[in-house]
Symmetry: C2
Subunit: 189 residues, 2 copies
DNA sequence: TGGACATGCCTAAAAGTATTAGGCAAACGG
DNA sequence: CCGTTTGCCTAATACTTTTAGGCATGTCCA
């Protein structure tokens, strides 16, 4: 058999595509081997194991997400930045549901620290520079923003907001309006 | 072998306990059979298949959550109700991480409609009676509350807020304060 | 240029999970 | 007490994960 040219990177990318097509929990070493028309055992020269594959896909997704967010944030501030950043999350989850699910994978602390998690946190704080929040309220606000973005996208992806009026796009806009208003008027302790 | 007394209900409860102990994605028909000291095939008289088991655990968790929330809401209004309701979610997820994960399972629409999802939605709206929100803002607010609660609890469970100051309890309180302020002062379209 | 060595994918095999089909014995109803 | 139902069992198939060891292909050096 000719060389298939397997590498960890190609396997990770293919795994991410597979995740978007069939769901992250359906991503399996076997399925990936089928996709490359190669025997399953062959992948174990490039991947430590199944968990390793999933972790790599998660890290890929976090990087992509951080790259998009950084792009979106460039040259924006205030509500404009808030909206752009939030839309990156939502759009990414809609375009790449499998990757987004992967990004939610619980990573061991060292993998998380090595990954793009830190970039995400820094960008959140950058957005808050457009509002007037001192510590520790800034941290509270960062956590709240993360919760709303992740929570909304996650519920929407699960189908929570479909089949009922008003449509999800409208709620999303109004939720972002509300967040902006809240940040401009954050209640004192 | 003496009769083990298997029923769908007992299997579901045991599955929920198993989920809390080892994680929802580790809940397997085989593991459940081991717990009852019974052969795997025996469970298939009581469960349609693995998916059926997971769905039952999810529905159980949603019921328990709705029961607790209804208790907490009784006799409360306004911010008091908001806080009590939110704490039910958070406490449940901390006490029963496996069950909480199960409650996030994507259910087929018919199972979801039959389940406690409707009760949850109604309780959210009941909380909002303490604030002055007309439709469609009420729906937007319901979606936002759901997003914050689910998102916060989910990120906290994933370890997102540990190992950094201020501690998560403090952020949670301040986020609830912020939500209360926001609902009392919801921005006009 | 031809061998030496490393690399890449293979076969083989063991273990765990999911699921179905059919059997035997205990419980139960008349 | 007998017949039927119920409940758990054995047996078998299929798929996924993972390890061990083999053969061929590509690379590098004399």
């Amino acid at each position: 058999m000719a060389y298939a040219g397997l590498t960890p990177e190609r396997l990770t990318r293919a795994g991410a595509e597979l995740a978007d097509e069939v769901g992250f929990d359906q991503v399996t070493v076997s399925a990936l081997a089928r996709r490359f028309d190669v025997k399953v055992a062959s992948l174990y020269s490039h991947l430590k194991n199944s968990q390793d594959l999933k972790t790599r896909i998660a890290l890929l997704a976090l990087e992509e997400l951080a790259d998009r967010a950084a792009d979106a944030l460039a040259g924006r501030a205030g509500k404009d930045a808030l909206t752009a950043f939030a839309n990156v999350y939502r759009d990414y989850a809609r375009e790449h549901p499998g990757r987004y699910a992967a990004a939610q994978l619980r990573l061991d602390p060292e993998a998380a620290a090595a990954g793009a998690g830190v970039r995400h946190a820094r960008m959140m704080r950058a957005i808050l520079r457009g509002y007037d929040l001192a510590e520790p309220d800034q941290t509270h606000a960062v956590r709240m923003l993360g919760s709303v973005f992740h929570g909304y996208v996650s519920l929407e992806t699960a189908g929570g907001f479909s089949h009922s009026a008003p449509d999800s796009q409208e709620s999303w806009s109004r939720v972002l309006d509300a967040l902006d208003a809240l940040l401009r008027n954050w209640p004192a302790s």
